[in-house]
């Protein structure tokens, strides 16, 4: 029976010749991930049930990224609990302040995920690694605890939607514009319980950072996972990072897809997702009369080096608008250092931005940029739900780094073209 790329990976990890949509399976895992919020709940469960130890100390990653450097005493206790668990169980891939980055930027960067692998993470944006041609999906803390103990997880085999990308994107169009456009087309539950499988000659036109941003937000369409084919760019990215054998899977030519969504990359314009759903998308230049209080450039969606490069290109030699607080957060220590070496951080600071050590921080309303009542932020993050970044009456407009940087300069939602046309 013909299978999708996701189904093939799941079948192999379940030790089955084939699987079909809807089937319940138990699959072997190549990596189990948790963070400083979800790991403590998993540890409590792990200990409460007297589970004796982890299945493989090299196949668990614990990253302290959400409330770190610790924002308060309770957060510090949670980090401490993770740290002690990691030490006690000899967890190889434990990342604390100073080495850590936002988990979904960090794991691929450190070579902890490779094509064809099966990964669960107690964080919904674990779907990010689909960019590498891996099956990866977000689960909860109990799944994490069970995964750490057994190296396995139960899954319902998903059906799939095929997203065919064609054409070449114009300047300023990045992965965020692609994925927000897609979510605007299919809605926040348009791919619920399904895989999003990206195909088409447009894939080659997208950088790995673009693909990470797209796979990252598969969950915002309700998908179980998003996955890209493995091509030269993927292999080049893994080279030097992944030092183990990996397997490249391809969907069968006659794989069953529930439907196909076509996106012509050459037609895309910079978009924003207006409050309070990621599907509430509009072209950035059609919402240009909205004044803003804050801009956040960072997160597991758009805190990578090319995102900072794009923002720096727009901000260089300009000043951020009066009354706008601009916060830039490189996603990992490596990105932070590269952004420093390449002069981006200097550009940001000179323009009047605040630059932070890697953290999730404001993305989930944790710390480092919380909004007061009625305030508005343009953010390169992935969720604009009510209260996500502060007071329930505050508003988040989601955008890529180009729109966020242009908005920072003009003090209102703006498209990058306005800056190019001398809008400063």
């Amino acid at each position: 029976m013909a299978m999708t790329m996701t189904q093939k990976i799941l079948a192999d990890h379940a030790g089955l010749p084939e699987v079909r949509a809807g089937q319940l399976i138990r699959a072997k895992l190549d990596l189990v991930l948790g963070n400083d919020i979800t790991t403590p709940v998993a540890i409590n469960e792990f200990e409460k049930h007297g589970l004796s130890g982890v299945f493989n100390r090299d196949k668990i990653a614990i990253v302290l990224d959400h409330f770190t450097p610790n924002k308060d005493i309770k957060a510090a206790e949670q980090s401490k609990q993770c740290r002690e668990f990691a030490k006690c169980n000899g967890i190889t891939h434990f990342y604390d302040v100073g080495q850590m980055g936002i988990e979904h930027a960090l794991l691929p960067e450190q070579g902890l995920v490779a094509a064809g692998e099966a990964v669960i993470g107690a964080d919904s944006h674990t779907c990010t690694y689909g960019a590498l041609g891996a099956f990866s999906t977000g689960v909860g803390s109990t799944d994490m605890a069970a995964g750490m103990a057994t190296g396995e997880c139960w899954f319902k085999v998903p059906s799939a939607i095929r997203v065919r990308l064609t054409g070449q994107p114009k300047k300023w169009i990045g992965g965020k514009d692609v994925v927000l456009t897609l979510i605007g087309m299919i809605g926040v539950d348009g791919a619920r319980y399904q895989s999003l499988e990206f195909t088409g000659d447009g894939v080659a036109a997208l950088s790995m950072d673009d693909r990470f941003a797209i796979a990252n937000m598969a969950i915002e369409a309700g998908a179980k996972n998003g996955i890209f084919p493995v091509d030269e760019a993927t292999i080049a990215y893994m080279k030097g990072r992944v030092n183990r054998e990996y397997q490249v899977y391809e969907a069968d030519a006659d794989a069953p897809y529930e439907k196909t969504v076509e996106i012509d990359l050459s037609e895309l314009r910079p978009v924003v997702a207006c409050p309070h759903l990621p599907s509430n998308t509009k072209p950035a230049d059609e919402v240009n009369d909205i004044a803003i209080d804050q801009v956040v450039i960072g997160s597991c969606t758009n805190g990578r080096l090319s995102d900072l490069a794009t923002a720096a290109e727009i901000i260089k030699g300009r000043k951020v608008a009066e009354n706008v607080r601009v916060i830039v957060i490189p996603a990992t220590q490596h990105i932070y250092r590269e952004a420093m070496r390449l002069g981006y951080l200097y550009t940001f600071i000179e323009a009047g931005c605040a630059v932070s050590t890697p953290t999730c921080g404001p993305c989930l309303g944790g710390h480092m940029g919380i909004m007061a009542a009625g305030e508005r932020t343009v953010a390169t993050t992935n969720r604009n739900f009510v209260g996500r970044m502060g007071d329930p009456s505050s508003e988040i407009y989601l955008a890529g780094p180009a729109v966020a940087a242009a908005s920072a300069i003009l003090g209102r939602i703006a498209s990058p073209e306005e800056i190019e046309q001398g809008g400063n």
Partner: protein, 161 residues
């Protein structure tokens, strides 16, 4: 297995950020989570809810983050079941994994109103609306999932085998 209670009705796309806002995730203590449950869309929920009460949502209930704190907050409030037109998938599996009963039933989600009294028979999937004298049929759980719920969660089911 049966549940009986008064209903709290919410709309579509109730996300995990409103079920339990991230600002409270610096602790996973069930009592702490319960006291802030639904706070951003229904400030009085934590005071009003009684053991056994039932939440009814629209489509895509529980969308957003993977935080198990969300079903945990709901369960810790004493809620006996969440019924919705459809659930976001991580919320669905988390609820099952921690032993919070949830049922997908579009017909029930459309017809049940605020403060209705309902009862649920989990074995048959029949939901009875005592206030309106109506019944709705939900899909009963598949065997595999029933085993997890009956064991009161995934880890209990693991430690049994």
């Amino acid at each position: 297995m049966q549940a009986n209670g008064t209903v709290f009705v919410y709309g579509d796309n109730v996300d995990t950020d409103v079920i339990i806002p991230a600002r409270y995730l610096n602790s996973s203590d069930p009592k702490h989570l319960a006291s802030h449950c639904m706070e951003d869309i229904d400030a009085a929920f934590a005071q009003k809810v009684r053991p056994g009460d039932i939440i009814v949502g629209g489509s895509n209930f529980g969308c957003g983050s993977s935080r198990e704190h969300a079903p945990l907050a709901i369960k810790s409030c004493g809620v006996s079941c969440v019924i919705a037109k459809s659930f976001a998938r991580i919320f669905y599996r988390n609820s099952i994994n921690i032993g919070l009963a949830i049922l997908e039933c579009p017909q029930a989600a459309e017809n049940i109103r605020q403060r209705d009294e309902i009862s649920i028979d989990f074995d048959s999937g029949v939901i009875t609306n005592k206030t309106r004298e109506e019944t709705y049929q939900a899909e009963p759980f598949p065997e595999f999932i029933r085993e997890i719920i009956n064991a009161d969660g995934l880890l209990n089911s693991l430690s049994k085998c």
